[in-house]
Structures are given as C-alpha cells and as structure tokens.
Amino acid sequence: MPNRFLAQVGQTALVLFFVSVASFVFLKLAPGDPVSLMLGSDYNKDSYDRLFTELGLDRPWMVQYTTWLGNFVTGDWGRSFVSNEDIFRLAVMQALPVTLCLAAYAMVLALLVGIPAGVLSALKRDTWMDLCATGVAVFGNAFPSFYLGIVLIWVFGVGLGWFPTLGFVAPWEDPLEGLWYLTLPAITLAAWYIGLIARVTRASLLDVLGHSYILAARARGEGATRVVWVHAMRNVLMPLTTTLGLQLGGMLRGAVMTEVVFALPGLGMMITAATLNREYTVVQAGVMLSGLLFVLVNLMVDQLYTWLDPRLRRLA
C-alpha cells in the first residue's frame, strides 16, 4: 500500500510545516526576545544590539524563517541563543528520550488502572461502586499535574521516602534505577489518563454489553468473566484506541508540568523554557518533534485500529 503511506508522509510534512510557521509567527509576535532575557537586569543598549545582530535576530522575519527551514531540513537545527547548545543534540538526543520514557511508563500505568476501573463501573452501573469508581478515576484528572506532582513529592518522596523525587536516570542504561526514578512522575502523568481510560472503557463496555453477541455467548454457556473480558473487551479495544490516539496529544501538556515539577530534562521542559525565553529555533525544533510524535502516534493508532477491527483488517 505504498501510495497510502506516501500520502501520509506528505500529509505529515505539510502538518509540520504549518506547525513550524505557526510557532515562528507566534514567538515573533510575542513581546520580549531572548537577548533581553540573557542580559537580565544587566541590560544595556549596546550589548543588546551586539547580541541581537550576532544572533541574526535583526534580519527580516522571512529571511530568518527560510534560513532556519533550509538548515533544519538539512539536519542543522541551529544553536540555542541563550546556551549556544546544538539544538539537534539537545532536542533529539537528550530531551526526546526522557519524554518518551515518561510517556510510555505513564501510559502503561494508566491502562493497568484505568481499564479495570472502567470495567468495574460499567458492570456495577449506577450503583455506589460505579459512582465511586468513576469518581476516583475522574478525580485523578481533576487536579492539575503540577499540583498532583508536588503532593506526591511531599507524601511519597519526603514523607515516606519510597521514591526519589528529582532527576532522571536513563532506563536504557539502568532499567531498575531508571524506572524507580520515573515512578512518581509517571503516576502524575498517568493520573490524567486513568480517568479518561476508565470513562471510555465504561461507556464502550456498556454499549458492547447491549449487543446480542454477548447474549449469544452467555447462551452458549460462557462464564460471566469470560464473556466480559474476552467477548466484550475485545470489542471495547477499538473505541478505546481511537480515543487514546486523539488524547495522546494532551500527553505533552501533562508532560510539561510534570517535567518542570520533577526537574526532568524532557521535551516539555525544553519547549516551555524556550517559549519563555522566546528562543524560536528551540521552540520550533521542539514543536516539530512533538508534531512528528503526534503524527506518528496517530499513524500507529490507525494501523492498530485497522488490525483490531477484522472488517478493516481484510480490506487493508
């Protein structure tokens, strides 16, 4: 199916182009610039002008953008104004892996907790258990991630001392240590998705349980657990996958706050700091990466969805 794939690659390129233009224009329009931040209170006109020209910020916008795009496509992602760090190394080698590990760990946790909660509240519909399971699940995403993170830090980090509250150990280097360090941040990020997964599971399970093939399975003498967890859940996976695909974009929103609170040098932190410093080259690299991530995740979700739904599987 190469042409479908090519079309999608084309689409991705266009989406990322649109994203890069938008972020460039936004940051240029926003008052303030990296240089005034670099000088802080030691601001003086001539150092400001020197740095401003040295960084090429005085060139017309169009020129700045096209040079950036030209370099970006050829792999030269430029250097950050404030730290003069190579952006490709910073974004791809350092920030991206951190966010990916965090997101993966959080998604696993969210699924492990969210799905059972959803099933429970569906099976015990409109009873106190449904209300409290939905309540607890939804409660998870009722608090902003930064607040939840701080509470977890003080309770589990400082109070009980079970988990480290700071910093990042690469799981690919030292898996156990790495996961141990990522536990609290992953819980913080997962909290948002637990509520969502529980709700979607509940809704689609209720919908699926209404179908005759469930009745037919029971009529064949299948036990309740097998009917729910095999026959019903297999059909719940499809709507669950689509919703998660759509929601994964929000993962970065949570990641931004989680990474700041836990001092994790991830993509979210990088983009936020760069936006505050008006470093448009870093923001664009970050947003392009998150855009790419978003599109790749959607492609993956589409493929997963096609595989999950037999009707589509045979067509693809």
Partner: protein, 321 residues
C-alpha cells in the same frame, strides 16, 4: 450433571406452571403455563411485544433475578430452573438447551472467527480440544449445509451471507446435541427464499436428534406447518393453546381468530382484516382480559381475567370462546 435417570415418556421435557416475570414494576409475563413433551415442537405465537422472546430467554436462564423478578416454576427434564444456581444453569446453556437468535449478524461476535465461536461450547461442555474439536466443528458446519466448511471456520462473521450466518447460529445451538432447541424467529431476518430452507434445516436436525423445540414465530400459518402444538400469547398472557392443525382450522379465542383472519393463504381470495388498535404498552395494561379493548365480543364480564380453561386437548382463556 448428565441426563437424569428417570426419562419416562409421559413426563414432559419442559413445563411452565403459573410462570410470571416482572421487570421492575412492569409484569412482562402473567401466569404463563404450557408443557412440551420429548421430541415435540411447540410454537409461541403473538404480535411483537407479547413476551414471546422473553419466555425464550427466561427458559434458557438469561433473564434471572436480580434483573427481573420470577414467580411460578419452569421444570426442565425434572429440574426446577427458577431457583437453580448459576453454576448449574451455565452447564445447561448451550449443552442441554440451545438457542438460535433472530438476527444472526448481530448474534455473532464481529471480532472472532466462526471457528473460534463454534469451538466454545465444544470445549466447555464436551471438553474437545485441538484437531478433534476442529473436525467436530467442520462436521457441524457441513450438517447445516455449509460448503467448504474448513475454509469457513477461519472466516469472520462479516464475510458470510445472512443465510450462512444463520446456519452457523444453528450449528452452534446444536453443537452439543441439546435436548431442547429454542429458535427465536430464526428466519424473519432472512429473505423469503432462504426462510423455508432454514426452517426445513432446523426441523430436520431436531427430528434427527429426537430433540424437542420451541419456535417463536409471529406467522400462524408457518406455525401450523412446523409445530405440533401452538401457544397463543397476547400482552404477556396465554390466551389459547391447541394442536397446530386444530388451532389453524378452528381458532376459538377472538384474538387467535383475528390472527387467523390476517394471515394470507395461497389460492384463497380473502379480504385481509387487520386487527384494530395495537398491543397495549406493558405499563398501562387494562384489568381483566387484556384483549378486551380490541375485542369485538368484549362484554362487562371481560373485566375479570378469564381463566385458561382446558378440555384435555385444547385450552382457551375467554368468557365467550
């Protein structure tokens, strides 16, 4: 639990006595009673909403407390079903009692292959595994007239035609040689040409096993051809029970007569007489005879519920029958 020891001829395989079913405040079934002998077929007739399917689901135990409230008794092969523990009931379903659904397309799980769903009763009730089970599945599909059965096993439901799906349903229901087959309007979702074939197939398979069968139908003429006896239901109450031929020839209850009047007969010139009004909603059931509002012979007496009077062969519940 295998077959019970005592299997005399005269003890009916299935008997419902004063069986009532209420969902919340609504009495869906009121005082239903009929019997089904071994090797016999019985038809449940009535307009939609009369509770035919409810009886079918109640018998196989898919409608049980706490969802619904049951009164009276259902005895199957000497066993009282209303109070049966779920674990025992589960061993009956698909094993001793088979159910064929009306719309096979909806009753087959879209995400599993035909083979996977067919294999379930075989492994659960008969403990068949692996190749033996696959062989048995192929035989079953062939027995319901499905060609290249081996291929069909690995197909998904959406890849089969409506008729084929219905055949798979039947194969599934008959997989463990049940003593009782319940077919809930097995052909109404199919186009006419296939209906006859499927109905013929079910009858032939049931007789081959000398099993009993309950057909839920809404076509009196079809019931007459297919069933030994017919039970006529109206708004959850049994209004008449009789051998199929007699009922068709000489319906006694006004409702059965009205049903008879609006079923088309080939070669007969007749003016169709639709029954005025429609089945009352289960919430606002009239006291006494529930057909009274639509009955041309209704009288003051109908305010009390007419008892089901039997003369040994037939029974009817109407003051003026």
């Amino acid at each position: 639990m295998d077959h019970p020891a005592v299997a005399e001829e005269d003890v009916p395989l299935l008997s419902l006595q004063a069986f009532s079913l209420a969902r919340g405040k609504v009495d869906v079934l009121d005082n239903v009673a009929f019997e089904l002998g071994r090797g016999q077929t019985i038809g449940l007739i009535g307009e939609s909403g009369a509770g035919k399917s409810t009886i079918a689901l109640a018998i196989i135990g898919l409608l049980r407390p706490p969802e619904v409230a049951l009164r009276g008794s259902i005895r199957f092969d000497g066993v009282e079903l209303t109070g049966l523990a779920e674990a025992q009931y589960r061993q009956l379903r698909g094993n001793r009692i088979g159910l064929v659904f009306q719309d096979a397309t909806a009753a087959l799980n879209p995400c599993f292959t035909v083979g996977a769903q067919l294999a379930e009763p075989l492994s659960r009730h008969l403990g068949l595994r692996g190749n033996e089970r696959r062989q048995r599945s192929i035989e079953l599909l062939e027995s319901v007239g499905i060609g290249e059965a081996a291929l069909r096993l690995d197909a998904f439901p959406h890849e089969l035609s409506g008729g084929m799906q219905q055949r798979v349903m039947i194969a599934m229901a008959l997989a463990c040689d049940p003593q009782l087959l319940i077919a809930d309007e097995p052909t109404s979702a199919l186009d006419v040409t296939i209906q006859a074939q499927i109905m013929e197939l079910i009858l032939e398979r049931v007789r081959a096993r000398s099993a009993s069968a309950i057909f839920v139908l809404h076509d009196l003429a079809l019931a007459a051809q297919v069933c030994d006896r017919v039970v006529v239901l109206y708004a959850g109450q049994v209004v008449e029970v009789a051998p199929a031929g007699e009922l068709f020839a000489a319906p006694r209850h006004p409702y059965t007569r009205a049903l008879r009047a609006c079923s088309i007969e080939l070669g007969q010139e007749q003016v169709l007489a639709p029954i005025p009004g429609s089945v009352p909603g289960l919430e606002d059931l009239p006291a006494g005879c529930r057909f009274a509002p639509r009955c041309d012979r209704a009288s003051a007496q109908c305010a009390q519920t007419p008892p089901l009077v039997s003369d040994g062969i037939r029974s009817v519940a109407c003051w003026h029958a």
